[in-house]
């Protein structure tokens, strides 16, 4: 039982396409320790969802390594993946599409139990499901209902209950609250925080909403066009971002209190992952761009205080290190 639960090293996922392959993930490395919540943030095309799918085995890596609890994590379909199915689970963004419309809530939540313990009697299964429904704040009397009779928030709770049934150690949440109304979002976030404490869960939380990140995550990795551009503890990163893209993201979050930081605005549109800009991929939009940027690609520099930043502006602070990929 090691301290590091998930280790991703130089992960790259390229999808074949014409005329150029889509380099959705292009050299991503990070670690998640037991009990930790790492947020993966970024906008369209940054590759965060693809990272999630690669970790879950739904998409095979083109290059790079994914290790869970020390052992390699092969893609879904290979027999070596089977034991991992109980350790990693995923909550998807769209609560509508995440539940089989033909199955009752009871059937959906009970499925993993049925698969693993086919010998259980119906009453035993039902009582397990009751326990799970209570855990996620659902009224067990709703077990006979169908997904379309439930609200978005309730459906998402069902998905969480289903995932919990296998007693996972790591929960990957792919924009799990993005499709919900604000007040419902708050309910689900509170629920996740509760469950994290009760069941000692670790989270990989994928989102584009930085406000949620602050509330939930210990550490944040900011992604842009397939790469991590900044990585560090949440509070430190939010209070003093080092990468111009992180600054632009933070400044762009609309709020009454946000400072009028128009100078930090990222310009123009997000480039396509099949044809990323030369040198530093952010240079086409960076408000602080200078001549070196289009020519060379900065590496993910390790800064002195458990921070990483992929920007020449931070190079001077970099702690010289062997190509160490993550904190």
């Amino acid at each position: 039982m090691t301290d590091v639960l998930l280790e991703v090293t130089n992960l790259a996922v390229h999808f074949p396409a014409v005329p150029l392959p889509v380099r959705a993930v292009d050299g991503v490395s990070f670690r998640i320790r037991r009990g930790e919540t790492l947020a993966l943030v970024g906008e369209s095309g940054c590759g965060k969802s693809t990272v999630a799918r690669a970790i879950m085995g739904l998409v095979p890596p083109t290059t790079g390594e994914i290790r869970f609890d020390g052992a390699p994590a092969p893609p879904l379909g290979e027999t070596a993946r089977r034991p991992l199915l109980s350790k990693l689970q995923m909550i998807f963004q769209d609560p509508d599409a995440s539940l089989n419309p033909r199955l009752t809530i009871q059937a959906s939540i009970a499925e993993p139990i049925e698969i693993r313990e086919p010998g259980l009697s119906r009453t035993e299964r039902e009582s397990r499901v009751t326990g799970l429904m209570n855990d996620v704040g659902l009224d067990p009397s709703m077990r006979a209902r169908y997904p379309h009779e439930l609200s978005g928030g309730q459906r998402q709770r069902v998905c969480i209950a289903r995932a919990l049934a296998v007693r996972p150690e790591l929960l990957v949440c792919d924009e799990a609250v993005s499709a919900l109304d604000v007040s419902i979002q708050a309910q689900i976030l509170n629920l996740l925080v509760d469950l994290r404490e009760r069941f000692a869960l670790s989270f990989l939380f994928i989102t584009h909403d930085l406000r949620v990140v602050r509330h939930l995550a210990n550490r944040v990795a900011v992604m842009y066009l397939g790469q991590i551009v900044e990585l560090g503890p949440t509070d430190a990163l939010f209070d003093a971002p080092r990468h111009p893209y992180t600054e632009a993201l933070l400044a762009a979050v609309p709020s009454l209190d946000a400072a009028r930081a128009v100078a930090t605005r990222a310009r123009g549109d997000i480039p396509s992952p099949s044809n990323p800009p030369s040198g530093c991929r952010f240079h086409t939009r960076c408000p602080k761009v200078f001549e070196r940027c289009p020519k060379e690609s900065p590496e993910l520099f390790v800064l002195s205080d458990d921070r990483h930043c992929r920007c020449f502006l931070a190079e001077s602070e970099a702690v010289p290190s062997v190509r160490s990929p993550s904190a």
């Binding site: 739904l58 199915l85 689970q89 599409a97 995440s98 089989n100 419309p101 499925e111 698969i115 296998v166």
Partner: protein
């Protein structure tokens, strides 16, 4: 809590609101009932010939008249209906079973398997239908002519192709839906995924296409009869015979009228029912 509301009950409710569909279902039920129940109940005999009363118009004793060999037309029309309907439903069931399994496997496994399987379907699509049928007829010996089996095989062979394509398309989409991914991530094997998650969500469209296949088969069979390749006694066969005796001197209108009416009515009703089912089952109609 008060009303049960599953995906099937919702679809059912939507269906019964559609008057045309309900009417269609009703008509089909009535026609089927008449064809199968009336002959044994009334002791009707489609086969006994009696040349002395040949070509009698409808009247006492023979409600629908008699044909060229003096056979009771009511009996022939009803018993012919049995054959038409039976072929229609049986060939449909066969094409559904084969088409669904074929399409599900092809769509679910994808890749090379899918390519090969679908090329085969494309190939069969390209073969001229009549050519196939004649080939099959020749394969069976002369004595089997008029027997429903070769016709049934020929029809089944053609109809499953469409079903396979439709199902494959649906399966390809469903395969990437989050609830299917979730099931696989929870440890579900291929069998469970296909039979518990994918096929039940395909059932709706299969029902619709299946219902629309029945009239298609009946028409095909009628067409075959017209060409002289059909079964001994069916609506299509009766129509073909009726057309065969058209002449400028005497009109035997009843020979053409009754089977035509029944054929047309049944086909229309099945189509209304199929359309209604499609509207009832279509998830886009669900808000």
């Amino acid at each position: 809590m008060t009303e049960k509301s599953g995906p099937w009950t919702d679809a059912y409710r939507r269906l019964v609101k559609n008057r045309l569909a309900v009417a269609g279902a009703g008509v089909v039920a009535v026609v089927t009932g008449l064809c199968f129940l009336l002959p044994p109940l009334l002791g009707l005999d489609p086969a006994t010939t009696n040349p002395s009363i040949a070509h009698q118009p409808p009247g006492a004793g023979h409600l629908l008249g008699t044909d060229g060999l003096g056979r009771d037309y009511l009996a022939r029309v009803l018993v012919g209906g049995q054959t038409s309907l039976l072929i229609g439903f049986a060939a449909t069931v066969a094409s559904v079973v084969v088409g669904v399994l074929y399409g599900a496997v092809s769509g679910y496994y994808g890749g090379r398997i899918d390519e090969v399987m679908m090329r085969f379907v494309d190939f069969l699509y390209g073969v001229p239908y009549m050519f196939l049928v004649i080939l099959i007829m020749l394969l069976f010996s002369e004595t089997a002519r008029g027997n429903p089996l070769p016709v049934f095989v020929a029809l089944g062979l053609v109809e499953w192709l469409t079903m396979a394509r439709v199902v494959r398309g649906q399966v390809l989409t469903l395969r990437e839906r989050e609830f299917v991914l979730a099931a696989r991530l929870l440890g579900a094997g291929d069998f469970r995924v296909i039979f518990r998650h994918i096929l039940p969500n395909v059932a709706g469209i299969v029902t619709v296409y299946g219902t629309l296949t029945v009239p298609a088969v009946i028409i095909l069979e009628s067409f075959l009869s017209f060409l002289g390749l059909g079964v001994k006694l069916s609506w299509g066969q009766l129509v073909a015979e009726a057309v065969g005796v058209v002449n400028p001197i005497r009109s035997y209108w009843w020979l053409l009228l009754w089977p035509s009416i029944l054929l047309a009515t049944t086909l229309l009703s099945l189509n209304f029912l199929g359309d209604g089912l499609r509207d009832a089952v279509d998830p886009k109609a669900r808000r």
